[in-house]
Symmetry: none
Subunit: 226 residues, 2 copies
Amino acid sequence: MDQGQGALTQLRAYLAQHDLPSNSRLPPERELCDILGVSRGELRKALAVMESNGELWRHVGKGTFIGARPTKEYSDVAAIAALTNPREVMQARLLIEPQIAREAALNATAGDIAELKQCMIASRQAQTWRQYENSDNRLHRAVAEAAHNTVLLALFDTLNAVRRAVVWGRLRDKVDRPPADHHSFVEHEALVRAIEERDMDGASQAMLRHLSHVEGNLLAPRAAAE
Amino acid sequence: MDQGQGALTQLRAYLAQHDLPSNSRLPPERELCDILGVSRGELRKALAVMESNGELWRHVGKGTFIGARPTKEYSDVAAIAALTNPREVMQARLLIEPQIAREAALNATAGDIAELKQCMIASRQAQTWRQYENSDNRLHRAVAEAAHNTVLLALFDTLNAVRRAVVWGRLRDKVDRPPADHHSFVEHEALVRAIEERDMDGASQAMLRHLSHVEGNLLAPRAAAE
DNA sequence: ACCCTAACCAATTCTTGATTGGTTGCGCAA
DNA sequence: TTGCGCAACCAATCAAGAATTGGTTAGGGT
């Protein structure tokens, strides 16, 4: 009667005896067969049971490991940038940044709001498109800081890094400066005002409108100057 | 007089002739010497000029490449986890994941929905809390995959990695299994149904409700069984 | 002084063979 | 027939050494 579950029992006994910590690798199947005195087929059945239980995980060429399978963690900006495109990045911004703005409206301090206004002034005074983009970036990051959530800020930074990596080739060659009636100025103003007034929905919508216009310019760069 | 700038001129001519796209690698210095008929020292001077101009970048062992040097930023999950706390992580989930669910409702394929249902079944059949949590994680990630946006998926993975790192010590020791009337089951069902019916608002709200309950359990783990 | 050449250094990539989980086919026994 | 053991093979992975490549230095010549 023990024959059917023998392999699993022996395997469990072996694991209990050695008390292996999580993420540690156990001997290859062929060795384990000799150690436990079981055929490979039986051993693999036992391993399959434990794997389906989440007690261990296996991978070809690597081996068999104790614990839960590690999830493939993308934090590498370059890796993400290589797999995506400007449309996906813009879409992610449209979904994430309004939520961050909403949170900023709730948590911004007086100091944060002062910083936001500073960024707004700087973007208005920009002499070149490059300077304007720097100010715009600073403002968006100031909003993320105003949310006062370390995780959200880190996610924003990641998204921002991906954006810069993806849109890298799209540097503006224009030598002229942003026009005084550039749409971003009023949008920035509405955004900062909403945050200052603790208007969460307003901040979210203002950010959404602003990014929608940016998206429009991205897809039709010729129409940027209007 | 041409002698001083000869190498740079020839190099520029070579680049213009071949019209290499950005991020493409050009021949190793030793070959380029023969091609252009210039000594390595002169060639390296020319390359140094162009590199300082940001027209190309070099790296030992890799080669010389056209365009700007790729940014090497990565958000270190461990670093974020060290600076944050479970409350911030939960808050970030409440803001981000509903948006991902909304996008999933729009973009999910039939295959994605089948996978979601598979995850739902697995979570219902879980024999232990550990198995349940594995299934729950799989379902949340399946939703992120169904959004079909590489950037959103990467952000979700980052957030998820931070979450696991932060609540690492909080593993359930309970030996009993999740009750059949666990709140998550009906919430999962509502979420998947909304995605299947392309109900973006519904999917977003279902995810929000689900996470709110999870948050409740996190803050008051004793009341989890109700 | 300046430059060319050659050699060397360290970081990276390429190549090759071994390892490992996953699979298939054959033979044997109940 | 069904199931098990055995062996071989497959593809993914790893590991170690050779080859490549940008960066540097020393010697010789003009």
